[in-house]
C-alpha cells in the first residue's frame, strides 16, 4: 500500500475489540516493565502496581459518575503502565496516583471518554504535573543508586548502557532493546503500523543531525523510543489517514528534537505529542479522502 493511497468508504468493521488491543499493548509493555524492576528494584514494581490499581479504580468510578455502562476495556491499565514507566523511580507514589486520576478522570473521561479525548491522557497528566511539581519529575536515578544527571542533561553515557538500560532515566524508558522488543510484538500483532514510529524517529534524527548532535545517542536517550512506540501511536491522538499519519509523525519527531535541544526541560516527547494532538483534527481534515463517487472541485480560472 503506497503512502499516497487514500481510503475511501465504505469501511468494514474490524472484529478486534478494544480489550484485545489493550491486552496486546500490555503484553508489549511487559519487557519494559520487567526491565524497570530489574534495574530499579522493587520500588519500580510498587510504582507499576500503584499506577495500574489507581487507574483501574478511577476508570470504574468515572464510568459510574458519568452514568455510562462501558465494560472494562483495559485502556486504563495501559494508561497506568505508560504513566508509571515514564516517571523517575524517585517520584512519590501519591503523585503518581494523582497523575493516574487526572489522566483517566480528567483528560480522558471528562473530555468525552476513550476515543473522544483530544490529548493523550498520560502525557497530558504528565505535563500538568511536570509543571506543577518539577522537582519530583526531574529527579532521575541511576539503577540501584541515588540520583544523578540523565544522559540528556549533560551526563555522559556511551551507547552500550543506553541499549541495555543501565543508565539513569524514567524506569521504563532506559532499555532500547526491550522497547524495540515490545514494538516488534505490536507490529506483528498489527496493533500499530510502522509509519509513525519510524518516521517520527527519522524526523527527530534529522533535526538532531542538522544541529550537529550525536544522533544515535539522542535516539537511545530519554523517552523518544518509548514515545514513538506507545505514545505517538495512540489511536485517538493521531490522525486516521495515511498522509495525516506521516505529517503527524514528522511533526512530533521534529518537535521532540527541537524541544529537547532548545527547550527548558531535558526531553520534549511530552509537550511535542500534546502539540501534535491539537493539530490532529486539522491534519485529518486536510488529508481526508475524497468522498466516493464525487468529483474534485474545479479550480476557477
Amino acid at each position: 500500500m503506497s503512502f499516497s493511497q487514500k481510503h475511501a468508504p465504505p469501511y468494514l468493521r474490524a472484529h478486534r475489540r478494544t480489550l484485545a488491543i489493550m491486552s496486546d499493548v500490555c503484553v508489549s509493555l511487559t519487557p519494559s516493565s520487567v526491565a524497570a524492576v530489574w534495574f530499579f528494584g522493587l520500588r519500580a514494581m510498587w510504582m507499576l502496581l500503584t499506577a495500574v490499581g489507581v487507574s483501574f479504580v478511577t476508570d470504574r468510578l468515572s464510568a459510574r459518575l458519568h452514568g455510562t455502562s462501558h465494560p472494562f476495556d483495559g485502556s486504563a491499565l495501559v494508561t497506568g503502565m505508560i504513566l508509571a514507566l515514564s516517571c523517575p523511580v524517585g517520584i512519590p507514589l501519591w503523585l503518581l496516583a494523582g497523575m493516574c486520576i487526572v489522566a483517566i478522570g480528567v483528560f480522558r473521561d471528562a473530555l468525552g471518554g476513550i476515543g473522544a479525548n483530544l490529548f493523550n491522557p498520560a502525557m497530558a497528566a504528565r505535563a500538568l504535573l511536570l509543571t506543577s511539581f518539577p522537582a519530583y519529575l526531574s529527579g532521575y536515578a541511576l539503577p540501584h543508586a541515588v540520583s544523578s544527571a540523565t544522559p540528556l542533561s549533560g551526563g555522559d553515557a556511551a551507547l552500550i548502557p543506553l541499549l541495555f538500560g543501565r543508565v539513569n532515566g524514567s524506569i521504563g524508558e532506559t532499555s532500547a532493546v526491550l522497547i524495540l522488543l515490545g514494538a516488534t510484538y505490536l507490529l506483528i500483532r498489527r496493533v500499530i503500523r510502522w509509519q509513525i514510529p519510524v518516521l517520527s524517529v527519522a524526523a527527530f534524527a534529522f533535526v538532531i543531525a542538522l544541529d550537529g548532535g550525536d544522533v544515535l545517542r539522542h535516539i537511545l536517550s530519554g523517552s523518544l523510543l518509548f514515545g514513538a512506540v506507545y505514545i505517538f501511536t495512540d489511536y485517538t491522538g493521531s490522525p486516521t489517514t495515511p498522509l495525516g499519519e506521516i505529517l503527524f509523525a514528522v511533526g512530533v519527531g521534529a518537535l521532540t528534537a527541537m524541544l529537547r535541544l532548545w527547550g527548558r526541560y531535558p526531553e520534549g516527547v511530552c509537550f511535542a505529542v500534546l502539540i501534535m494532538n491539537l493539530l490532529t483534527p486539522l491534519l485529518d481534515r486536510l488529508t481526508r479522502p475524497r468522498v466516493y463517487g464525487t468529483k474534485r472541485k474545479e479550480r476557477s480560472a
Binding site: 484485545a20 491486552s23 496486546d24 500490555c26 503484553v27 508489549s28 511487559t30 519487557p31 520487567v34 526491565a35 530489574w38 522537582a135 526531574s138 529527579g139 543508586a145 541515588v146 540520583s147 544523578s148 544527571a149 542533561s153 549533560g154 551526563g155 555522559d156 556511551a158 552500550i160 548502557p161 541499549l163 541495555f164 538500560g165 543501565r166 532499555s175 532493546v177 526491550l178 522488543l181 510484538y185
Partner: protein, 305 residues
Amino acid sequence: MNSFAKTLISLSVTAVVSVGLLWGGDLLTRRWIARQDSEQVRETFGEFWDTAHFENVNTSEVAHVTGAWKALDDEDRLIGYAVTTEVQGYGGKIEVHTAIAADRRTVKGIRIGSHQETPGYGARVTEPSFTDQFSARRQPFYLDTGKQRTTLRNGTYRAAEETYDSSGFRNVVTLTVSEGKITAVEWDAEQQNSTTTKKDLSEAGEYVISETGLPWHKQAEIMENALLSLQDPARILYQPDTGKTDAYTGATITVSPFILLAGDALEMAKSTEGSAIDGISGATTSSQAVINAVNEACSFVATLT
C-alpha cells in the same frame, strides 16, 4: 484456547524472554561498565592526584554519599580519598565531588557535578571563585557570616571542683560531645578517700536528702536531662544567691555546682577550628548546600577504617 489464556501465555513468554535479554545484556556489559565507571572516577578526580588509581569504598546506606574511593599511588599506598555526595540545593539536587587528603581532614579541592540551580545565582557555585575556597583547607567548613564561629569538638570532657566540701564530696560533671552536640551528661560527686560516689550511695539508699523528696541521683538526672535538652548550661534558670532552681519540678538540691562545672566542661569542648567560606551573593541556600556536602564527605571519610 480462550483469549485470556492466550494473553497470559504471551505475557509469560514475553517476561521470560525479557529476563533472558536483560541477564545476557548484564553479562555482556558488566565489565565494560565497570571499566567506564573507573574511567569516570579518574576523569572526575584525576586533576587532584596525577598518578592515582582508585579503589571503591562501600557506601551503601550512607545518607547523601553516592560514591567513595580510596586514591592509591603506583605502590598502592593511600594518598587520599575521593567522595561524591549529593545534597538538596535550591532548585534540586547538587552533586559535589570532594578530594580529601590522606589526613582525612584537609580538602584538596572540590568539583561541582550535576545541579539544577538558578543560572546567575546558585549555578555560580561551579565557578572557581567559590570552589577554590575549599582547596588546601580543613574541615569543618561553614558559611562566613562575619562572626567567628565556635564549634564543639567530639569527645568526653570532665570538670571537677578543686576541693572537697565539708561533707567530703566534690562535684564532677562529665559531658560527651558528638557531631557538635552534647549527647551525654553525667553529674556525680566523688567522695574523699573512697571510690564510692554520691550517686552510688544515693542509689543504694545510703545517701538520703529528705524523707519526702526525690533521692539525690534522681534529682541529678533531672538536671542532666535539662542540659541535654537545652544544650547550654547558661540557659538553665537558677537563683545565684541560693544556688537552687525552681524551674524543674522535683529538683530541690543545690544546682549551681552542676551548672558551673558543666560550663567549664563545655569550654574545653569549644573549638574555633574550621574554615569560613564566602557564599555566593544571592545564593545562600546553594552555597550552604555545597558546604554541607563537603562536610558530609569529610565526616564519611573520618569513619573509614
